[in-house]
């Protein structure tokens, strides 16, 4: 009798294990907002190296009217060129985020600010984030303005 109960318990345990093993749908993490906030701070500080450090090694920028910029070194060079010391700050509004395991997606809008604090350009962006070695970093970054560039503006201001 005791042996039968033990067998029943064993079978039940195995069944529960099998079910729980399958039911381990990963609980989505929150979007890494602190990394996104660091990007804005570093952009405002014209810190190209600091911005580049927030991208994966094999990240890509997909800027408007320019070829894709691939890799952290090229990304640093891009931001050093387009956001030199003393240039614009940026405001970012996140519209939507989804986190899927080691990847996340974010959509938002940006307002690029001139030295006097006025809005120079407004636009939108899509990002793909990737968790690499436990750290959330930007893996793909695409943006564009909401209107054609004024004659005086550069065509490749980032978001």
């Amino acid at each position: 009798m005791a042996v039968t109960r033990m067998r029943a318990a064993t079978i039940l345990s195995l069944l529960m294990l099998a079910v729980s093993g399958c039911a381990q749908a990963p609980v989505p993490e929150p979007f890494p907002q602190e990394v996104a906030d660091a990007w804005v701070e570093r952009y405002g500080a014209n810190d190209a190296a600091g911005i580049a450090a927030l991208y994966t090694e094999d990240a890509q920028l997909l800027p408007p009217d320019l070829e894709i910029v691939s890799g952290r070194a090229a990304i640093q060079e891009f931001f050093a060129r387009t956001n030199p010391p003393g240039s614009a700050a940026i405001e970012i509004a996140t519209v939507e985020t989804h986190v899927f395991g080691d990847y996340a997606h974010r959509q938002g809008g940006f307002l690029l600010k001139g030295p006097d604090g006025g809005t120079v350009r407004a636009g939108k962006f899509l990002e793909l984030w990737k968790k690499a070695d436990g750290h959330w970093l930007i893996h793909r970054d695409m943006w564009s303005a909401n209107a054609p560039a004024p004659a005086t503006a550069t065509p490749d201001e980032p978001a």
């Binding site: 195995l14 099998a18 408007p64 989804h98």
Partner: protein, 158 residues
């Protein structure tokens, strides 16, 4: 005999568990047919057909224009965005399944009527399954160089 029965039970349970897990993790291919349908509709200038390939809550994020939201606005957008005068080809595509979405990125080449050189650009898409159909949920692209002066906006990706 009892031991054999127990072994059989354990075997069955393990197989059932494994089969359930495998089914859950079975990879689903990118809906290439839907993506090809988009290009065909674009190249034939079918704005209504294009609009039907987007989710009801879809957003198109075109370069140098505000976001276009929803079926009606998307149909209006494509009907005025030079469809039918452009021959579009997609290349260098990479797709990744993210939860219930497909993320896809790639390059496009657009041959515009009366232009000698093609316009080249890149795109990002998010696809979502609504009912039985995979539809575009987010769609963004930009050219790799400024559009030629006084020409209509460059062509999209799909």
């Amino acid at each position: 005999m009892n031991r054999n029965l127990l072994t059989a039970w354990i075997g069955c349970i393990a197989l059932l568990g494994a089969a359930g897990c495998e089914r859950r993790e079975a990879p689903e291919p990118f809906p290439q047919g839907a993506a090809d349908g988009w290009v065909a509709a674009y190249n034939s200038g079918d704005a209504t057909g294009l609009a039907m390939m987007y989710t009801e809550d879809s957003e198109v994020l075109p370069p140098d224009q505000p976001i276009v939201s929803g079926h009606a606005a998307i149909e209006e957008f494509w009907s005025t965005y030079n469809p039918g005068q452009v021959r579009l080809e997609i290349s260098e595509v990479e797709a990744r399944k993210l939860g219930e979405y497909w993320y896809r990125e790639g390059s496009y080449t657009a041959l515009v009527q009366d232009e000698g050189l093609p316009r080249v650009g890149k795109f990002i898409e998010l696809w979502r399954k609504d009912g039985s159909a995979w539809l575009l949920y987010r769609h963004m692209w930009s050219p790799n160089s400024p559009p030629p002066a006084q020409m209509p906006d460059t062509a999209p990706a799909g």
